[in-house]
């Protein structure tokens, strides 16, 4: 049974997810961004995508950040296939299969 608390919780999360997605579209429509800002924004795609990759390659260690070796091991063939095939779907298939195999043998 879905409680009202749950409904409000989901709605709350929906609003805080929606606002950061939509506000820039409204902002950019209203004002022209300065040239410096536009140059800054050209670096966002590569930076954010690599941040998301590093986020999965690292893990919080006991003393400091350390490498998530399982993810790192799956990352190498994934990267290779991405560079080699330049194909989203092939990269995803190889990534998932490699991870499934690694978990089967090592985890």
């Amino acid at each position: 049974m879905t409680t009202w608390t749950m409904v409000w919780l989901i709605l709350g999360c929906a609003v805080v997810t929606w606002l950061p997605r939509v506000i820039p579209f409204i902002l950019v429509k209203a004002v022209t961004l300065p040239a410096f800002m536009m140059r800054f924004l050209t670096y966002i795609p590569v930076c954010i995508l690599s941040a998301l990759v590093f986020d999965s390659l690292y893990t919080k260690g006991v003393f400091m950040t350390s490498i998530n070796w399982l993810n790192f091991a799956a990352f190498l063939p994934t990267l290779f296939v991405a560079i080699w095939t330049k194909s989203l779907s092939k990269t995803v298939i190889v990534g998932v299969l490699t991870m499934a195999l690694l978990r089967y043998f090592f985890a």
């Binding site: 579209f25 991405a82 989203l88």
Partner: protein, 235 residues
């Protein structure tokens, strides 16, 4: 890429350009449904989460926090921080749609995800202009696949105890790797070294920041820092 750079892309083109990412949406959405059931959410709640939040990482974190009995306010705050990166993404793609109406812009923003953003920026980097119809086709296809896959995962979830064993969660990382490579491939050759050095800085920034910040905050801060370095060190 035989077609002209200035060809107006249609809704159908958007659907077609979404297809390579569908495997990612479907496997992650499916895994989310399974994890949701394992976290004692109902199928209806899983449907609501995918329909209204529509953000993979945040939905998984939602499950984790919910199972741990985290207070409502803390779950909402965490969701906000996890998804704050969309602000940067939206800001960098929005100028392409300046000439579309406000309502349509709100539509583009509402359905913006890491992957549709990645696909759109790759198109831009390849020299295409983005059309509103194309973006709608891309967004709507991704959105519907996500909802259907997560509900399907919820139905099947009762019979799958350990979705992680399937490696489905890694689909997300694999997709980011592919989108990153596709983006790099389209950058001009004389700028490639600059971009590669920025990726190296990202690796260092993330490594340092993750010592004392949760991953999603480290993503946000190192992106802003390194993009700034990018502007200051460009020639």
């Amino acid at each position: 890429m035989a077609e002209s750079i200035h060809t107006e892309k249609t809704f159908l083109d958007g659907i077609k350009d979404c297809i390579p990412t569908l495997l990612g949406y479907i496997s992650i959405g499916f895994a989310f449904g399974v994890v949701g059931i394992a976290s004692h959410l109902s199928t209806f709640e899983i449907f609501l989460l995918s329909l209204l939040i529509y953000a993979g990482a945040a939905q998984f974190i939602f499950c984790g926090l919910f199972v741990a009995g985290t207070p409502v306010s803390a779950i909402i705050l965490t969701t906000f921080i996890v998804n704050l990166r969309h602000f940067l993404m939206a800001l960098s793609v929005a100028p392409s749609f300046k000439n579309e109406s406000l309502a349509r812009n709100i539509g583009f923003g509402t359905l913006l995800t890491d992957e549709t953003y990645g696909v759109a920026m790759t198109k831009l980097a390849q020299g295409h202009t983005l059309s509103g119809r194309w973006m709608d086709g891309l967004n709507v296809t991704a959105y519907l696949s996500w909802i259907i896959a997560s509900v399907f995962g919820a139905f099947v979830g009762k019979w799958i105890p350990n979705p992680e064993n399937w490696g489905l969660d890694f689909a997300l990382t694999a997709m980011f790797v592919a989108l990153l490579i596709l983006n790099l491939e389209s950058t001009p050759k004389n700028k490639l070294m600059h971009y590669l050095s920025l990726i190296l800085y990202m690796g260092i920034a993330m490594f340092v920041l993750m010592n004392f910040l949760p991953g999603h905050l480290a993503v946000l801060i190192s992106t802003v820092l390194v993009a700034l370095i990018g502007v200051l060190t460009e020639k």
